[in-house]
Point group: C2
Chain length 87, copies 2
Amino acid sequence: MPRVAVDVLLKREILDPQGRAVERALPGLGYDGVSEVRVGKHLELEVDAEGDELADRVRRMCADFLTNPVIESYTWRVIGDDERADA
Amino acid sequence: MPRVAVDVLLKREILDPQGRAVERALPGLGYDGVSEVRVGKHLELEVDAEGDELADRVRRMCADFLTNPVIESYTWRVIGDDERADA
C-alpha cells in the first residue's frame, strides 16, 4: 500500500505565530541566518489505492477533513519507507 | 537562500493519539482503506548556508530545539519554491 505524506501550512498571507516564535528564538540559541520560518502539520498515512484514484482520494480527504482550506494550503507526495519521518 | 522542510513525527514505538483519532474518524466520513496514520509537525525555514554546513546546522537545530529526540524522529530536505506547502 502506498504511503502518503501530507504537509499543511497556514496560507502565506496569514500570520504564523508559531513560526514567528521559532524564528525569534533561534538567534538566542546561536542559530543566525534563519528566516521565513513556518510551522504546520505533517501527516503520514497508508492509502489502499493507486494512481489517479489515490490522488483523488488524498485530495478529497485533505479538502474535507485533514486541512482547513480557508486558512491552510498543503502539498502531498507518495513516500518510500526510507522517507518516513519516524523511520 | 535554500529553503528547508523538516518533518517531525513521534517515534514509531510511541502511541500517536492524534494519528489514531484521525484513523478512526476517516471511515465515518466515507474514507475506507486508510491506515497507519501518523500526525506530527512540518516546518519550513530558509537557512543562510549551503552543502555540508547547511546539513550540519539543520541537524543541530533539530536536535537542540525543533524536535524532542527522546520521543520524536525527523527527516529534512531542501525544497524548491514550487514544493512549499504554502505555495
